[in-house]
Symmetry: C2
Subunit: 591 residues, 2 copies
């Protein structure tokens, strides 16, 4: 039989026979420590006699028992503070020198806030945005990875069950029909920082990428790096869950399994275990047949219904989050449009395919996604209403990427090869000026736009045409948006600072939007909000850019190609040149 590491509490209450202290006799000499059993020693006098016997202590002799911080142990009160397994000194005097070194055993198990508070500082968002969509994104990442090899549809549902009467009873569910987890995998799920790259099989061998099946590993050429491979650090799900609420019940069943596996981790349980001095990181996986609700109290209807659904499923994972942070509820309810739009933006290319959400002429059917079959839905249940309010992310038409795609008059595709295996695909889009109006979509998060333009007396010339000060590129990693990293521009697509032969008005450079798609050779932060090395690698002198035209890679200078494209865009698509807020002849009086 093999052995496996354990984190078990040794509680003197339950295992008194194991109680002991270590004693270093450091009156003189360098004798090794002695392990003194302390079971049954109920007061200091008992302990003292035992020591006197063990170390042959004389009545008349000068000695003192202290902690390693030299606090004397001399009565029941001081003895009470000694921990099981603690190291003590036997000394001539409290402040004598140590004649030899003394090593004491210590434990430094990470505090459970590692799990419970992990997400608290990870999923913040700047500029007054709400970070919740980014927490949900971690759970969607996991579901995308789990469904990557589904044969039929890939269904991912975020279900919000609001309880208006008792808000604290609200439940958030994230349910997918992916491959599920075995009980060992479910155990691994709970291990903080156990990334797939360091998971070991039962023989202790590394199983790197246990979760990735060959199909996705062997196809680095998947367009836009839409490889569904977005599980990296072993922290995402846990951090997201404890950002959203205070407790989670993971329920899962792999295809091959007869049984459903269930594991609950909660802040309250951690607190209880700490209080009772139980092992913090131990718990139970419940194995049961599908649909068995015998362990769920009748009032937890939502969970019971969820379990009853299991009967119709071959494999699945359901994350049931409870103890929802009450601060989140008004936002989740009141800003549904906003945060679902943000999710549609993050997963735009997963839900719409490599070309994104294009308009499809007359046909009102959805854009086909040939190599995927992803449905991400948000369902909002309110008590009393049996029919949920339902939003399919694929139906959202006002996320930034959809706006960019639909206002584009022309696109320019390119590729960047970065040293090593780094691959970046790029798309740029031209949003022309049409009869008195820029078609570049305004930032959905901004509101101060388009004000005051009529005012003749504008003195402080506030030119915000088209893109304005926004950077050109949004960046996707393995097909999903990394929201806080943007790339301003490249050398080859920036407005020339000086040039004597310009054929394109500077304004045109401001009518370009863009997207970068990287593979996983670029690093992102553990919260998947920023890239770590993208800009640096792109700026490296060995990074080579080339235009992609059709499926062909063109070996000309990208700067020329871009300029030619921009010129063509301007000449063919712009209907009038406009200089916003600045018309006619101005004579500067103040010179």
């Amino acid at each position: 039989m093999a052995t496996r590491m354990q984190d078990r509490a040794h509680s003197a209450e339950s295992e008194d026979e194991e109680a002991f202290v270590y004693i270093f006799d450091r009156r003189k000499g360098d004798a090794p420590e002695q392990k003194i059993p302390t079971g049954g020693l109920f007061n200091f006098e008992n302990f003292h006699s035992k020591l006197a016997e063990h170390f042959d202590l004389d009545e008349g002799e000068n000695y003192v028992i202290t902690t390693t911080n030299r606090e004397p142990i001399f009565d029941d009160d001081t003895w009470d503070l000694v921990d099981n397994g603690e190291t003590l000194y036997l000394l001539r005097a409290v402040d004598q020198d140590l004649p030899a070194q003394a090593q004491e055993r210590v434990n430094y198990l990470p505090h459970y806030d590692t799990i419970v508070k992990g997400g608290m500082y990870e999923y913040y968002a700047s500029e007054g945005q709400n970070p919740l969509p980014y927490a949900f994104a971690e759970l969607i990442d996991n579901a995308l990875a789990a469904t990557a090899n589904n044969v039929g549809s890939r269904q991912i549902e975020i279900r919000l069950h609001f309880d208006d009467v008792t808000p604290s009873k609200s439940v958030v569910l994230v349910v997918d029909n992916g491959k599920g987890m075995s009980s060992r995998q479910l155990n691994n799920w709970a291990i903080y920082r156990l990334s797939k790259f360091i998971r070991k099989d039962q023989r202790g061998k590394l199983v790197p990428g246990e979760e990735i099946e060959p199909s996705s590993v062997d196809t680095p050429q998947v367009p836009r790096s839409l490889n569904s491979d977005i599980s990296y650090f072993g922290v995402g799900g846990k951090q997201a869950i404890f950002f959203i609420g205070s407790s989670t019940r993971m329920i899962t069943k792999p295809r091959e399994s007869k049984d459903v596996h269930e594991l609950t981790i909660s802040k309250e349980e951690f607190e209880r275990k700490e209080k009772n001095k139980e092992a913090i990181y131990s718990g139970y996986i419940r194995n049961r047949k599908p649909g068995d609700v015998s362990h769920i109290p009748a009032e937890e209807e939502t969970i019971r219904q969820l379990i009853e659904e299991e009967l119709g499923k071959t494999s699945f994972t359901a994350v049931a989050i409870q103890g929802i942070n009450p601060q989140h509820i008004p936002y989740l309810k009141g800003n549904l449009t906003q945060w679902t739009r943000q999710l549609a933006h993050i997963y735009h290319y997963y839900i719409h395919g490599p070309n994104g959400n294009q308009k499809h002429g007359d046909s009102k059917t959805r854009a086909p996604s040939p190599f995927m079959n992803i449905d991400i839905q948000v369902k909002v249940y309110t008590k009393g209403n049996s029919v949920p309010k339902q939003i399919d992310l694929r139906d959202i038409e006002d996320d930034m990427q959809t706006l960019f795609i639909r206002t584009a008059a022309s696109t320019f595709e390119f590729k960047a090869s970065v040293e090593g295996m780094g691959r970046v695909e790029g798309v740029m889009r031209y949003h022309p000026f049409l009869y008195e109006r820029e078609t570049y979509p305004p930032d959905v998060n901004m509101t101060f736009f388009e004000a005051d333009i009529e005012d003749e007396h504008d003195y402080a010339i506030d030119i915000r045409p088209a893109r304005g000060k926004r950077p050109i590129f949004e960046c996707y990693w393995n097909g999903r948006l990394i929201p806080y990293t943007t790339v301003e521009e490249f050398e080859w697509c920036s407005a020339p600072k000086k040039s004597k032969q310009i054929y394109v008005p500077t304004e045109c450079y401001n009518r370009v939007s863009g997207v970068l798609f990287t593979n996983d050779q670029f690093q992102v932060s553990t919260n998947k909000l920023t890239f770590l090395d993208l800009e640096m690698k792109l700026r490296d002198k060995n990074t080579a850019f080339s235009r992609i035209s059709g499926t062909q890679e063109k070996r000309t200078q990208i700067e020329k190609d871009f300029f030619a494209w921009l010129k063509e865009c301007h000449e063919q698509c712009d209907k009038q040149v406009r200089f916003s807020g600045f018309k006619g002849v101005v004579t500067r009086l103040d010179l």
Copy 2:
């Protein structure tokens, strides 16, 4: 005697008598699990017989032993894979339904990458900057907190010992003469996420702010919030250390203690413990008399010397980092000026006092810092050279804050009161235009500045006067810079978008720099690189701004005050108005 939680490994090798498995007899019924000792069962046959006896199994009967994932255990190979403490089933058939639920014990101790890789993604820096200064800052934070109540000088030294022959033997030391740690505090230091707010004393009572002594708690009015209270999350030191290297030896001695306490944590040790199935989060604190080097091999000269210094100290903490990441060495050596400048910037107000690094007329002595006494030094030792290269952060004169302070012609101080206890002090500085040249200091990290201005043929009007596109405010939290959060401007100090009575050229708004100083009522991320809620709170409608003039708070409208100040600055300090890159009369031909 009290008990305390432990993380101990149960290795069958050493404690065979404790080996066991749990068996659920789920052929039918819902009997609880049975704990079956497995010590001395050396093969499957032994185990099988034991089970047959225990559960009264008949030869002719149909039954199978499986794991909870329904993998049958039927021979020595499959039995070998069973872990100590694992849960097994006794079933009629491998694929029968479970007649009742079965709960198996699992452990989910955080992987040691929690500590070892914590910093890897935390201390990245954007825009091609190197993140190392931010890692050092965490160690300086700790040293500032530890020295806060020193009576005399507060000495903080970063010592770099480069070994050119064997770079892997290089050592980084961070040494302070602060209050040190008891062995229990040293143990607590190692506990990931054990913030000071949740530390418990030996009686299990919370000791919030154990580390903060009353003096600093009771003085919220300390100028610029320079309270030395920058230990918050229980992660900083550990993350920084393992970002810099792969091993640390913490050596510390509190004033009251006769002994020095030493704790080593290293990646290699974690790996060894994992391999040998030992308890991951257990180790030894070495207690010894000051100067005792008996445990350090002769070749580790740097460590021996460090220990020998102990004899002259009453209290101290030394962090000795080894296994320095080889990628860091060229940067640490080659960019010394740059990263020490960055540290001088981060701790500017700690090292120079609330008014910063002002020029002091004739006197070449250092600016006095009346209520602090902080010396932060960087010493670089190279083998063979006994005299280190030494930089005192207080002597650095080209960090951004020094540049801002020394080019300022006038300052404008204000205060923001945020709901609750949030206090923000603000300083704005005017950098005038002097005879053909802006005095606003260029960004030390930028280089593209001031190019091409002479070119008459500039067409793309690239106006980068004074501040340019940079935001106005850098932000300090408890007196130390939070480098990635800047505040663009406030409503009341931004160039008016339309205004009929303007007396100040727009350009003047661009000659203002600023600093915000917040207290700890604002949240920062665990890596102390960004604020979480500063902008949001500042924009709150209940946030009140007022000018501070002398020591007086003025109750007039800040917008008016600011405008008056700006006007005065312009009229008294600017020597000529300049509009960069745009002179005379321009007629736009392209309209």
